[in-house]
Symmetry: D2
Subunit: 400 residues, 4 copies
């Protein structure tokens, strides 16, 4: 008899069910972001961390593995070895998170997909668009689940924003402004630190730094909430701070759905901005505004009425899909880890459904897939193209 | 050779170390708060949930245990059984969280302390002061670790506030105002719901409802940050909303250290207030203000200078003990679960130290102990006394 | 033919009309507050400043009068002289503002009332309740207009709050919290400055300082918005800062309409609070919150719905009586001077109506009258009584 | 003996002096903005309104003049007549405010300059750049005072921002973002109202609507605070809402001083934004942020330190030139009328100085002059040029 993970009476709507067991997760990459993500996975309670490829040095790999209480024999010194060994175990990992520097994402993801292990990959998905497209193809071919960690789409109030826009609460959209303002790179010491340096090295980070790292978050968030494709951009990349090989700031005009105007900018030198991912969408009936530094508040202004501030866990005005993405009663704050746990929850349910031979509707499990990751890569490429042409409009859609 | 949990070179200052294994936690009580707390325990990564007394009905107990992926034979139908069985196992639980209705706290805690299992108990500690005092005595006699879940003391910015007050940043304190404003009890349906009803039943909740439930949070927070004892109160209890057996609102004047004036109030009927635990402390050099609905901001106003807004993960102006209580980089929000995970982290280290035969300094592990819990019980009693006397000043200190 | 000031077709509702001429105002007292008030009077455009008793030294009186571009012969060295001379002139002042230290209010007001000149008097109305009662009597007897400068009732969003409460938007009120938190007295130099010192001198300020000065603002605001009488208080007065003859802080429990509980506090030592007059009113359907530091925002929380932030000049959700109290289009901020100008506008219309022999309804001209001033004096007295009795409930209503 | 307006011992620094008499102001144009501006002039207490050209219909002109209590014989039906008559009177107006639709600014201003009457003109200065340049020439030739009502430069906290940038508080500027977001034009009825319609009529409003009206405010504010010229723009104009002859939204990339990147946008369709003029300037040491909806707060973030919130009237951290631009004690809010009154105060002192034959330093009287107005006209023209070229970089400096 085959193991069944999901309850048999599941309707793919409503609250998320418990599985018959926790899923087993492996980690490729052992940096800070893998700590954050594994914390989120554990918080979701759908996962236990069971294997890791945390260093190419076997001694270091084991030492690092102890941080996750991994068994020694599941601390691998390469992801290939991990994919091989884990896929052969009866209690092998169900999925892997890939959190290496960007240039290694493709090789790692390919190996696991081919080994029949579902993948949750950090963003940007790849440095090369061909690799991104290849990952889409491989995902389709293998039928595996491929998530991408655009975590911001998993904030409850972002889910609320998306649903309100769909319902027509702001009417026909006529402009979209999104920005991601940070300031940590003003600290020269941090910029030169080992765990950061690769982000400014074109060999590892690709042809962009700020754009791929945080500009793509902005692009992903805006398209997720509006439900509109970003079709065209006119971009300029800047080194505003100390000299460096890649841009620290990017500014662009944008078009959604070929016509609706907008702006997008991202920088790491805006003193006083820490997690300043801010989205503003205006339509002919109203507008919504959201700021990741206050992720639990969604400002909704229906024209001619008082501004409303919607809050997670409020009841009455929130959609069911928002309520199922919250853990605590109203007034008890949640943050980024809880959003990330939402992503791991939905990813787990998609993995479980695949194993159970079921399809899951995307409006129930809204986590970003490989296609969103590839769209981000195309967005970065288009940014570079527009910039190199001295500021021309460039189509930024991924044409498969 | 005995198992050692803590690293041998630990200095009891600085960042929190990993243990040689995760500790094993049991749950008594199976309501909402136990879900929240076990999520926090898991988030801390110092604990795995291994046993539970989740219902007096054995069938229900096992069904509930599946929610935590507990083994069937560790789903008990009484806490006595759980204490007995777990204390005999080689892989028995290291500690237990008690999250039953208030009137059961004492019996449960006593059983586990006597079984050599450390305890983290929900607040209010007990309904009867004698029981609270007895728990202090038992804790001292057994040498066990006894934590109380006054979670608000574990917010990073509250740790910062305490340290700033200690350093003299606001000078000599001259007034202290604290309040806990909620509104959920305006919903009559919720007030009558099964999981809430006991809070308004004197047999289970004791002689107070709002005071013991959230007033004690306010009292605990104010004394934690100021470092001053609350010595006197003049209180009135009110039923502001629909008729009920216990108060939904409490208002009082307070004195700290016999002289410094203040106010404390708590209500569940203040529409628009969800988690409005707010502390304001003013001294002759400056003031601090904090609001749990925005837990990551600490307002600091040095008189004659611009207001400052200190933020978690900011660097430069934060104390080391604050930095070690954070998980994410600046700008990526944390919330109540992260604070609760801080409490579980510190409780774990205290448990590990006890097992390793070590003393841990309270300025390193700042989680609330049984004495804070007992102080809260005395505070509730004093509130009732002052109220029944028609509003007289009553000493509210716990005299042992 | 007699001069008519108001238009003949006036309906005493809707927008405020222009008068046939500006009214003429005199000033008694020449301190800072008279500058502020005369600025507001000018801003209203219903008044021109024409005479002053600005100093008992004739030379200084004239020098000060030049600041207001007064004619030399209308710069008086006593208010008695001013009342006599002005009441004899054809172009004599229509009304006088009294902004002396508190202990002189009564004598000045009496002289002008008896001279047939309408009065707008600073608060607290008097230091002695007998004098306050006598001013009520004199006002009734003479039929003169007597306004008191409780300016906060004239903020547009306070008018909105009052109207919403009346309409039942928050349901049946069940608690009322009001506070006035300032910090300027932390500056010892300012406390000792000439223009401040009298506020701490019982001979001039009366038996209270902070209570009469700002506590009465809180009392007045809460009763204005709720429409409820404050009937009972239990108060304690404190000297929290440097030693001084009168209190710098007052804390009290309050009852409205004999039963509804509340709190009121006022202090000048709360670092970081500049104009922290804050009102919170909660009922069984919702709540409102207002903060004078952000006077243009009114938070309205209907239970079960998203919080709303109402804003002056917004349209749609605001009452007509609010719109007529604003000057600028939405988004262009107004402040305290504009509120004060509202008070001067309404006072002018009442003066004009009296001269034209008309009655004006109080729901059209909502400025505070002598009765509100007297209620504030009784409130201060009751505060002292309760304090001196060691904290007993005292009825604080003015019984005439 | 000639009349002297300014005190003889004036040092042109420090607080603003009183004049020996109020100056006399005339009004050209009788719409809403003239009401606002004359209120501000009166609030400043440096002016009295004495004449007006409020309608070309003599009957209407007189009727409107009664609103300002003007004498009948000083209610003119043309500005030419007003300039002629007033310049011949002994008590003629000292200056005129011009608040007509844009296309009439030039003719009116010219007539008054040539009549020896100082001018304060609404913005945009003119629709045609040639006319703007001619006004500069005329101003220089006649030696008259010519102010332009870019009122936002007169907010105290904007003065503070400018002074902080000059002192180097934020280091070397590396990016500048400014926007003016409004929403009132979402209301179709208002857009078609008589007093608004001209703003969308190219014959009266010129070749832009939103750009000239509010985009120029953004441009002026950014250059005032940074002290940098805006040299290049790449702009797109949009009709986001209902069809109309001129743009309702403009978006651009900008360069300051030929190299420093930035963004500028303006729209009237951003629901929930009422007076959303927001400036953000970042340098290598820190950043400042300001929002006209909260004009009294200036956020200053020195990198590595807690954010500071500077407030008008705070003392200690504010420049003297800020303090002299405030009227009320700390905590008592000021708004747009007070800023406008600052502009009228400084304009009055410049007029008085000219009449007294004195030069006044621009760092003492910081109100915008004709050159700032002309720079705004060039900015609008450059916007149209860049837009018509399909989004090319265009130099936007005014080259004389």
């Amino acid at each position: 008899m085959t193991e069944k993970l999901l309850p048999s009476d599941l309707t793919f709507s409503g609250p998320f069910p418990r599985l018959s067991r926790r899923l087993r997760l492996g980690i490729v990459g052992g940096g800070r972001i893998s700590v954050t993500q594994s914390t989120a996975a554990r918080l979701s309670d759908y996962w236990e961390i069971k294997a890791g490829a945390l260093s190419s040095d076997p001694v270091k790999a084991k030492a690092k593995g102890q941080q996750w209480y991994l068994d020694d024999d599941r601390c691998y010194s390469s992801f290939e070895e991990m994919a091989n060994k884990e896929s052969e175990r009866d209690d092998g990992i169900d999925a892997v998170m890939i959190t290496t520097p960007n240039h290694l994402h493709f090789d790692a993801a390919k190996v696991f997909l081919e080994a029949g292990i579902d993948v949750l990959c950090d963003k940007p998905l790849t440095n090369e668009i061909d690799q991104a497209v290849e990952l889409i193809r491989l995902t389709q071919q293998t039928g595996m689940v491929f998530g991408v960690s655009f975590v911001n789409t998993a904030f409850p109030m972002i889910r609320q924003a998306k649903a309100m826009v769909e319902r027509g609460d702001i009417g026909k959209i006529n402009q979209v402004h999104v920005e991601f303002m940070q300031d940590w790179m003003m600290n020269e010491d941090i910029s030169q630190a080992e765990h950061v340096k690769w982000r400014l090295d074109p060999k590892k980070s690709g042809s962009t730094s700020c754009t791929g790292d945080i500009g793509t978050h902005a692009q992903n968030l805006a398209t997720f909430v509006t439900g509109l494709p970003m079709t065209d951009i006119l971009a300029q990349m800047h080194v505003c701070g100390a000299p460096k090989a890649l841009e620290d700031t990017v500014i662009m005009m944008t078009k959604y759905d070929n016509a609706i105007p907008g702006t997008l900018m991202a920088t790491r030198l805006a003193s006083g901005n820490r997690g300043g991912l801010r989205l503003r969408v205006y339509g002919d009936k109203g507008g919504i505004e959201w700021d990741m530094e206050y992720p639990e508040r969604l400002k909704y202004s229906k024209f001619g009425e008082a501004d409303r501030v919607l809050t997670r866990g409020q009841g009455g005005e929130l959609f069911p899909q928002v309520e199922r993405s919250t853990r605590l009663a109203r007034g008890f704050s949640e943050g980024v880890l809880e959003a990330w746990a939402n992503l791991y929850t939905e990813f787990a349910l998609a993995v479980a459904a695949r194993k159970d031979g079921l399809e899951t509707p995307h409006d129930w499990l809204q986590f970003p897939r490989v296609e969103s990751g590839a769209a981000g890569v195309r967005f970065s490429d288009a940014t570079v193209e527009s910039h190199q042409q001295g500021g021309q409009w460039v189509n930024c859609e991924l044409k498969l």
